[in-house]
Amino acid sequence: MRPRALPAPAKVRWAMLVTLLLAWELVPRTGLIPELLLPALSSTLKVLYQDSHIYWAALLVTLYEVALAMLIACGGGIITGAVVGGIARLRDLLLPVFSSLYAVPMVILYPVFTAWFGIGSESKIAFAGIYAFFPVMLSTAAGIRTIDPQFILAARSMGATLTQQVTRVIIPASLPAVFAGLRLGGALAIIGVVVSEMLTAAAGIGYLVTLNRTILDSARVFAALLMILVLSVAYYMLARAIERRVVVWQSVGRAPKAAQAEGGPGVPVAAAA
C-alpha cells in the first residue's frame, strides 16, 4: 500500500528527535523565546553536568521509589487481577468497582497519604503504587477472562492436569495482556512518583523541578525535566524489548511467510496407497 519512496519509520522518528533537539538549542538562542521560559539545550546540559552529583542523588531517590511502587503495582496487580479475572463470582462483584475506581483522579489521595506516611519516600511509593496498580490489575483480569475456553478444553483433552492447565495454558495465554498492563503501569508509577515529589517532598527529581521553579532557575528545571523524559522513554523501550522477547507470537511485523498454496508443500495428492 505504502509508496516505496517513503523513508523507514525509524528514520523518520530519529529525524524528528534531531529536529526537536536542534530547535531546543536554536530557538532560545535566536531570542525567539526568552531563556527564562525555555533555556537552550546546551545551558540545560551544562547545569546537568555541573550539578551532576545533585541530579544523580535525586535520580537514585526517584528510581528507588519508582522501583518499589512498580513492585507493589505489578505484584499486587497481577495477583489481584488473576484472582478477580479467574473467579467468575469475584469478577462480577469486583470488576465494576475497580473499573470505576480507575476513573477517580488518584491525586486527590496524595494529601491523605502524606498525612499517613509523612513526606518521605513512603508516601510517594504508596501513592504511585496505588496509581499504577489499577491498569495492571484490570489488564490482567481482562487477559484471563478473555482466554479462549477452547484452549483449556483442548488441554484437558490432551490430559493436562489442573496445574498444567494453569502453567501451560492460562499463564502464557494471558501474558500479552499482562505485559500491556505492566507497560502502562510502569509508566504510571513514574508519573505518580514524579508528581508526588513535585507536590510535597524533600528529595527526588520531581522535588528538583519544584525547588528550581520557585527560584526561577529555568535551566535547572529543564535539566530535571530532561532526566524524567529520558527515564520514561528508557523504561518504555526496556519494557517493549522484554515484551517482544517473551511474547514472540504477538509481535506484529514478523515476516508473514505463511501459506503459499493451500495444500501445503509436497503433499502427495494420490489417495491411500
Binding site: 477452547q150 484437558r156 490432551m158 505463511a258 493451500e262 495444500g263 501445503g264 503433499v267
Partner: protein, 272 residues
C-alpha cells in the same frame, strides 16, 4: 504374558470383545441444567463403532453432536448411560486412548507448530528427543515437513488444521474424534483436507468419529453415516456408505454418491 496364556483366555487383552467395537454407547441421555430450566440435549443414544471404521455424524444444528463428542472424549459426564472404549468405560480424558480434534484448530499461538504437536507428549513428561522425533514424524505425515518452526499465525487455515490433526495423532490413540474440523475452511481446501485425512487414516488404521454439516463431506469420508434428530438428539438413521476405497473426487459425480447424499438430506429434513 507367559503365565496368562496358561489360563485358557486370550493372552494380552482382558476379554477381547467378540465384535471388535472401538466405541460402544448404550442408552446415553444428557440433560443440561441451564439457567432457564433443564435442557434435554441427548436422548437414548446407542451406537457402536467398529474398530478402524470411519463414522460420520450429521444432524441439525444444536442437536447435541458436540455434546456427544465431548462425552466420548471424557470431557463431559453424561447424565445417563454408558460409554465403553475398547471395553473400558471413559470417564476422564485419556489422550492415549482418544484423540480430539476441534473445529477451531485451537493451536497455542505461543508455541511453534512442532511445539504444538509435542504439547501432549510434554504434558506427560516424555523425554525431549522422543518428543521431537515423534512430532517430526507426525509433521511429515500431515505433509508439513519444514514448517515445524512456524508459529500458528504464520500458517494458513488448512495448514493449522493439519498441525491440529498431527497433534491429535502424536500419542497414537486408537480412536480419533473430530468435531467439524474443516468447517472454517473454504470449500476447496475442505475437500483437499478430507482427501488428506483419508490418506492419513488409511495409513494409521484409526477409528474415526467425525462430525460435519457438509453432506458431501459425510458421504465422501464415511463408512457409515449416523443421522441425528433435532434436540433432544436421537439417532434416527444409519446409512452404510458402500462406495469403494480409496475414495476419489470423481466418485462425487456418480449416481451412487448422489443417492446417498439425497437420502441423508431427506432424513435431516425430516429430523429438523
Amino acid at each position: 504374558m507367559a503365565n496368562l496364556s496358561q489360563t485358557m483366555t486370550v493372552p494380552g487383552q482382558q476379554d477381547t470383545p467378540p465384535e471388535k467395537a472401538a466405541i460402544e454407547v448404550a442408552n446415553l441421555s444428557h440433560i443440561y441444567a441451564g439457567a432457564q430450566g433443564a435442557v434435554p440435549a441427548l436422548e437414548d443414544i446407542s451406537m457402536s463403532v467398529g474398530s478402524g471404521r470411519f463414522v460420520v455424524i450429521v444432524g441439525p444444528s444444536g442437536c447435541g453432536k458436540t455434546s456427544l463428542l465431548m462425552m466420548l472424549a471424557g470431557l463431559r459426564a453424561q447424565s445417563q448411560g454408558t460409554i465403553l472404549c475398547h471395553g473400558r468405560p471413559i470417564s476422564n480424558p485419556d489422550p492415549q486412548r482418544v484423540g480430539v480434534i476441534f473445529q477451531e484448530a485451537s493451536l497455542y499461538p505461543w508455541l511453534t507448530a512442532l511445539d504444538n504437536i509435542e504439547f501432549p507428549l510434554s504434558l506427560r513428561g516424555a523425554p525431549r528427543d522422543e518428543r521431537r522425533r515423534r512430532a517430526q514424524a507426525m509433521l511429515i505425515l500431515v505433509g508439513l515437513e519444514g514448517f515445524g518452526e512456524r508459529y500458528p499465525h504464520e500458517l494458513s487455515g488448512g495448514m493449522k488444521q493439519r498441525v491440529s490433526i498431527a497433534r491429535g495423532l502424536v500419542q497414537d490413540p486408537p480412536v480419533l474424534l473430530m468435531d467439524e474440523p474443516f468447517a472454517a475452511l473454504d470449500e476447496q481446501t475442505r475437500m483437499t483436507m478430507g482427501h488428506e485425512l483419508l490418506r492419513i487414516w488409511s495409513k494409521t488404521s484409526k477409528t474415526v468419529v467425525f462430525i460435519t454439516h457438509s453432506l458431501t463431506e459425510a458421504v465422501f469420508l464415511a463408512d457409515e453415516v449416523l443421522v441425528m434428530s433435532a434436540r433432544p438428539g436421537r439417532i434416527i438413521d444409519r446409512i452404510a456408505v458402500t462406495l469403494t476405497r480409496p475414495r476419489t473426487y470423481e466418485m462425487m459425480a456418480t449416481d451412487a454418491f448422489g443417492q446417498l447424499r439425497e437420502r441423508i438430506w431427506h432424513q435431516i429434513r425430516k429430523a429438523d
